[in-house]
């Protein structure tokens, strides 16, 4: 039987993969993908814990909202990457260091 723990382990694995992608990738698109991973890990947690709310299914509804929002966020992220590329001619985050002192 698939227990809550299994869900949480998968979720943690997804989170870790997403975290790794965000920190280590040299491509802004892949970072965006990593963010999607982490959002999905959170959504998976919401769905998994919604078993304790069988009356309202609040967790699952919240997950639906989160998916919509994630899609919007990806759209915004891609737009940012596009404008960053226009400005710097690259999307390697290592080479974009405007935030340093």
């Amino acid at each position: 039987m698939i227990t809550l723990t299994h869900f949480l382990l998968v979720s943690a694995a997804l989170f870790c993969i997403g975290m790794y992608a965000i920190i280590a990738k040299r491509n802004a698109i892949m970072i965006l993908v990593g963010i999607e991973f982490i959002i999905n890990a959170a959504i998976l947690n919401l769905v998994a814990f919604s078993r304790y709310d069988r009356a309202e299914y609040g967790g699952q509804i919240f997950a639906l909202f989160a998916i919509v929002l994630a899609a919007a966020a990806v759209a915004v992220g891609l737009a940012i990457i596009l404008s960053v590329y226009r400005k710097h001619q690259t999307i390697n985050p290592d080479k974009i260091t405007d935030l340093r002192d």
Partner: protein
């Protein structure tokens, strides 16, 4: 001249002083343009006329006149300025005028062509102003002002040829020694003011003045006061041991020597003592007599062997001043004033004659190309053939100085000598030495002045051969006329109706110190005869020694050398005073150099070391602390700035790491 033309004596005496002063101002303003000396001479002429015509007859043997206005007030005491005219002051003013006048006219010729003649007239006018002002000053303080002015003017005149080092030395010497006297005068003024509370001459010395009215604070105080004034007179009138400036003062022009150092300036001391005579007590008077007598003797001894014609006359002046001072010391200040007056005429004449000789010999020297000192009597002789008029005039003056009958010197010298014998009779004891010494001096005087006349005018001229090409000229009439005027003044007839008896001398009857005793002995009759005979013997001896070549002494004789070197007094002063002063100043210089400067240097060194230490502390401790803090902050900052590299992934990585650590901490807490 209008019959009603009249000048009151007070205005007249004021004009007598102010006219030369106007001349002085004119010379100052006109500067180098005023070379003729016309204005100062005219001013002096008018002064002399006023003095003769209006001041002297109006005051002499009539009521004295004194007026004083307030000058300034200190506390409750006030000092005044004004005029004081009595027999003594108008006599002195007249003498100064009468001597200054021929000297002015003589100078016009004597100083012609001198490049600095405009200065000469300036200084001469200043001097005459000061001397005339001194005579009529109404109080001691005013006298002191003029006294100082006289000293200053004579300083300027002695150093007139300031490019000669000897003249500069001489005027410095004269000035310094006169300052000693000025100090005495100042102390005397202070002492008089302390005792009597007034400086006015009439208040002090008038018929019922303070000096006769009040008794002095104490005998010692009175002696001190008298000694102060005596010191003043000693410096001004060149008394031993302060006489050394006068022979050196001969470095000035001869016309100046005749006016200042024979007739007027040196007379200021005698005049001072005469005008304040009542202030002296017996102790001071005796001291005065001794100093005067000793000066007369020692200066006469020095005069015996001098070779410089002006030095002979200078020592003669010192000697005759000694006579006057001694006479004052014996109470006969009227006789002193008589001698001052007669001496002024014949000594001025002697100097002017000497000036004429020097002038002509200097011409001869430059014409003939010979090299000799035109003042040295060794190189003269036989000049009567070339300058007969000068010879005649100078002989008159020399006879007067030697005290031969029918000359003015006979009257005044006998007055002093006779009085001195009578004074010694009354005083008794060892005081007889003084008249005897004065008699010896009288004989010495006759000898040295005879020697001078004989060596200069008699015998054979030293450069006889050269005179054939370049003869020596007689002095010009511009120089001879003033000398002739003075020669008239050297004759007895100008001073007394009876040319052989001083009792009828106008000056004695006018001043009347009333101390000369009546003729009760043979002295007044015998003494003049003895003195005249011995004076004649002195002249004969001079003729015998110098013309007949029978001079008995060698130059190396110890006494001759002593006299020629002026008793080694200058050397003694040099050693005792100048050298010790120099040594003292060297010593104080050393102290200044090593102790005072050393102290300063030590404190400088100490401060520097202190400053170095505190600089080190500041640099390495205080600054070190600050720098360490700053460096530490910088290093820490530097350490951490690597983190903020603008790479968002790193930021996130760090944040996540910290989060993880936090979580791990929470788990394993």
């Amino acid at each position: 001249m209008n019959v009603n033309f009249h000048i009151s004596p007070e205005l007249g005496s004021l004009l007598v002083v102010l006219l030369p002063f106007a001349g002085f101002l004119y010379q100052l303003i006109a500067g180098k343009q005023a070379r003729s000396g016309l204005i100062p001479s005219l001013a002096m002429l008018v002064s002399g006329l006023i003095s003769v015509a209006f001041v002297f007859p109006a005051i002499w043997n009539k009521t004295p006149f004194s007026v004083e206005l307030e000058w300034f007030t200190i506390g409750q005491y006030s000092l005044g300025f004004g005029l004081h005219l009595n027999n003594l002051s108008v006599l002195m003013q007249l003498v100064v005028c009468l001597i200054a006048l021929p000297v002015h006219f003589y100078s016009k010729h004597y100083m012609k062509n001198d490049p600095g003649i405009h200065r000469y007239w300036t200084f001469l006018s200043l001097f005459c102003t000061a001397m005339l002002g001194l005579t009529i000053a109404s109080n001691l303080f005013m006298m002191y002002v003029f006294w100082e002015l006289i000293g200053f003017a004579s300083y300027l005149l002695i150093g007139f040829w300031f490019d000669r080092p000897a003249a500069v030395q001489a005027n410095k010497k004269a000035f310094i020694i006169n300052r000693i006297g000025d100090l005495g005068f100042l102390l005397g003024i202070a002492a008089v003011f302390t005792t009597y509370g007034s400086l006015n001459l009439l208040d002090l010395f008038g018929p019922d003045g303070l000096v006769r009215g009040t008794s002095p604070l104490s005998e010692g105080w009175a002696t001190f006061t008298g000694c102060c004034f005596l010191l003043a007179a000693m410096a001004k009138s060149a008394q031993f041991p302060l006489h050394v400036w006068l022979p050196d003062a001969m470095e000035g022009p001869t016309s100046v020597s005749s006016l200042i150092h024979a007739a007027t300036m040196v007379a200021a001391g005698v005049f001072l003592l005469s005008s304040i005579f009542p202030i002296f007590n017996q102790t001071v008077l005796l001291l005065t007599a001794i100093i005067g007598c000793f000066t007369a003797l020692i200066a006469a001894l020095f005069a015996l062997t001098q070779h410089d014609i002006k030095k002979i006359l200078a020592f003669s002046t010192v000697s005759q001043l000694g006579y006057m001072i001694a006479s004052i010391g014996m109470g006969a200040w009227d006789a002193a004033m008589l001698h001052l007056t007669t001496h002024a005429f014949f000594k001025c004449l002697l100097f002017l004659g000497a000036g004429a000789i020097i002038h002509e010999l200097a011409h001869f020297k430059s014409n003939s190309g010979l090299n000799f000192d035109p003042q040295n009597i060794q190189f003269m002789g036989g000049l009567r053939r070339f300058m007969p008029k000068t010879f005649l005039l100078m002989t008159v003056a020399a006879l007067a100085l030697a005290g031969f009958p029918l000359t003015s010197g006979f009257l005044s010298k006998d007055a002093i000598l006779v009085h001195s014998f009578q004074w010694a009779q009354q005083a008794g004891g060892g005081t007889l030495l003084i008249p005897l010494t004065l008699s010896v001096v009288s004989v010495l005087t006759a000898f040295y002045i005879g020697r001078m006349i004989i060596k200069v005018f008699m015998g054979r001229f030293h450069f006889q051969k050269e005179t054939e090409q370049t003869p020596i000229q007689e002095a010009t009439s511009g120089m001879l006329l003033p000398m002739g005027f003075l020669a008239l003044g050297s004759l007895a007839i100008g001073f007394s109706l009876h040319p052989l008896s001083y009792h009828q001398a106008y000056i004695l009857t006018g001043l009347s110190a009333a101390t000369i005793a009546t003729e009760s002995s043979l002295i007044p009759i015998v003494l003049p005869i003895i003195l005249t005979l011995s004076a004649a013997a002195g002249w004969w001896l001079g003729w015998y020694w110098y013309i007949r070549q029978r001079y008995p002494f060698s130059e190396s004789n110890k006494w001759i050398a002593w006299s020629a070197n002026q008793g080694y007094l200058n050397q003694a002063y040099e050693r005792a005073i100048t050298n010790s002063t120099l040594r003292l100043s060297t010593f104080t210089y050393w102290i200044d150099r090593n102790l005072v400067d050393g102290l300063v240097h030590l404190s400088v060194w100490f401060t520097r070391q202190l400053a170095f230490t505190s600089a080190w502390i500041d640099r390495y401790l205080v600054d070190g602390l600050v720098n360490t803090t700053a460096a530490l902050a910088y290093q820490i900052g530097h350490l951490l700035r690597g983190v903020q590299n603008g790479r968002l992934q790193n930021y996130l990585g760090f944040a996540f790491t910290i989060l993880l650590i936090g979580i791990v901490y929470l788990i394993f807490k």
